[in-house]
Amino acid sequence: MNLVSEELTATVTTLNGKVSIVFEGKSDRQDPRKIISPWSEKLVPSLTGQHVDVDFRELNYLNSSSFMPIFKLLSDAREVAEEVHVHYDGSVNWQRLSFASLETISKAWPNLHLTSH
């Protein structure tokens, strides 16, 4: 159940009982919800009870409008999944700033873990 759009892709694979979601490309559309939300709404039910890895390190750029549907994906995923592990590149300014908010929020969400590489 991959996300394939003109510039943004998310590849979903399952290996050894762990679901891996790898984001690549960029998202700088004015209304990225139209692309991300329908895909994530289909994906989230399949994550029930799973260990999920979400990797943003290969993502070149995510504008502010794109973060909200991504945030909703992670928020919904951690409600159904056993555990959600987010990987991002802390050396990239926009990634660090984008996921810093989640760092604070994840303190209240015990099954959401963030790792800055």
Binding site: S64, F67, M68, F71, N93, L97, A100, T104, I105
Partner: protein, 467 residues
């Protein structure tokens, strides 16, 4: 397409289709008509020839009769080649003539004998009249009467009369059919022409109406766009009016600018002086446009209200209050929006207290001539229901000659021609270079002019404070 045009075209197409089908089954073959008329004329001529030959007593043998038989046979062949159903009845008549002639020489000989007898009797009658012989006259009269009867009641004579009659009837019937066919053809052509004229008129009418409608719609659209841009301009004015006109803080020099990416942006900054110190607020609503501008205006109102209503409110407390207001209003708007915001409070002793997750705070340190980057932390406003007001604020000092830079991502994410972002490092370099400018306003102008040739997709806000 207009309903009338559709019906007009349907009538025209139906007429055309009907005409084509009719043409296929009954082609308007003028050559065929002429050939049929010629054939009829030839047939009648042939009959007349037969009658003439018989009456002139020259058709006495089957040998003399043969050319006439062949002529009529060839007539039959040519009649069979005539087109269409119209002449079918005519073609049926030819064999009956042949049948009548088919009695051949026997019937002609009998007919000839009758004629010879008639002439002989007639000659005898002339003699009896000259002699004034009453008995002979009576006898020859009776004889002539009987011969005349025999001649006219002979099978050949009857067949020729019948054939002539049937030819006349068939000829008239075919002429009637040709006339009917011509009328149908004319009616079809007239209906087609009428349908085409009607269609053309309706098309012209529709075209004229469409031109009027296009003009009308264009005017309406222009008016709507004008209203929309008027509203956008108004929103921009409101947003701009909410920004501080000539911001100032005690003991420092400050310059600020905001350039929205669209008519209405989502960037926000404010400078508010209170008896206890000065507030510098900067924020960025996700996305831009009218909805982002609305959230920005809500934030401005919430910030100003909270600062004025609560003495000694700390930056973290301020953001918790603003968040609770924003999250409810964003939900009412039905928008998926959030806002980055840093609240910086400079107390009367010159210490800067800050809170809120936004861009890193950049400080050019005059003594080291280096740019210090202070990361911000916390949670974006509008993401979660409650922020912890007890979060501790960060603190820094600004020395004499130091420059503090607050900004939004519009400048750090501005791209060079090769697509490379300015990023924090590039902005730090600009801040360092700007220090050579005498005033904060000039330094800010240097920074913004340095990026004006870059590709900027977002609102751009920069605040520069010199200690």
């Amino acid at each position: 397409m207009n309903k009338r045009i559709k019906s007009g075209l349907a009538v025209a197409l139906t007429a055309l289709l009907f005409g084509l089908l009719y043409y296929q089954t009954r082609p308007p073959d003028n050559y065929g008509h002429l050939a049929a008329t010629d054939a009829l004329r030839n047939a009648r001529s042939a009959l007349r020839t037969i009658e003439l030959e018989v009456s002139n007593l020259q058709l006495t043998t089957s040998e003399n009769y043969q050319p006439i038989y062949e002529a009529v046979s060839s007539l039959d062949t040519s009649m069979n080649e005539l087109p269409g159903l119209v002449f079918a009845s005519l073609r049926r008549e030819v064999p009956s003539v042949l049948e009548a002639l088919g009695y051949g020489g026997e019937q002609l000989v009998q007919y000839h004998e009758y004629i010879q007898e008639f002439q002989r009797s007639n000659s005898n009658l002339v003699t009896a009249i000259i002699d004034d012989n009453a008995d002979a006259k009576m006898e020859h009269y009776s004889e002539l009467y009987e011969l005349s009867y025999n001649i006219h009641s002979s099978e050949l004579s009857i067949a020729l009369d019948d054939a002539t009659l049937r030819y006349n009837l068939a000829f008239q019937s075919d002429l009637d059919k040709i006339e009917l066919y011509r009328l149908i053809l004319y009616a079809w052509m007239i209906s087609l022409v009428i349908a085409l004229i009607t269609t053309i008129q309706r098309l012209r009418h529709l075209t004229a109406n469409q031109e009027v409608l296009v003009k009308q719609r264009t005017l309406e659209l222009d008016e709507a766009l004008s209203n929309l841009f008027g509203e956008m301009e108004l929103a921009k004015k409101i947003q701009t009016a909410l920004l501080p006109i000539s911001p100032s803080i005690r003991g420092c020099e400050i310059a600020a600018t905001m350039e929205p990416a669209e008519l209405v942006g989502g960037d926000y900054y404010d400078v508010i002086s209170t008896p206890n110190g000065d507030w510098i607020i900067i924020g960025d609503v996700s996305g831009h446009g009218v909805s982002a501008g609305l959230v920005m205006m809500m934030a401005q109102t919430a910030v100003a209200t909270a600062i004025k209503q609560t003495d000694n409110i700390r930056p973290a407390e301020l953001l918790a209050v603003v968040n609770s207001t924003l999250i409810e209003n964003i939900r009412r708007l039905g928008e998926q929006k959030y806002m980055t915001m840093s609240a910086v409070f400079r107390d009367l002793q010159g210490s800067y207290h800050y809170s809120g997750l936004h861009q890193d705070i950049l400080i050019y340190r005059a003594n080291t001539q280096k740019v210090e980057s202070i990361p911000t932390s916390g949670v974006w406003l509008g993401l979660v229901e409650k922020l912890d007001p007890n979060t501790s604020d960060g603190v820094f000092q600004l020395g004499s000659g130091d420059s503090l830079l607050l900004y939004t991502d519009g400048i750090t994410e501005s791209k060079s021609h090769d697509g490379k972002m300015l990023d924090n490092d590039g902005l730090s370099d600009l801040l360092k270079s700007s220090n050579s400018h005498r005033t904060a306003t000039e330094a800010l102008s240097f920074i913004t002019k340095s990026v004006e040739n870059r590709e900027i997709d977002d609102d751009l806000t920069v605040i520069l404070i010199r200690g």
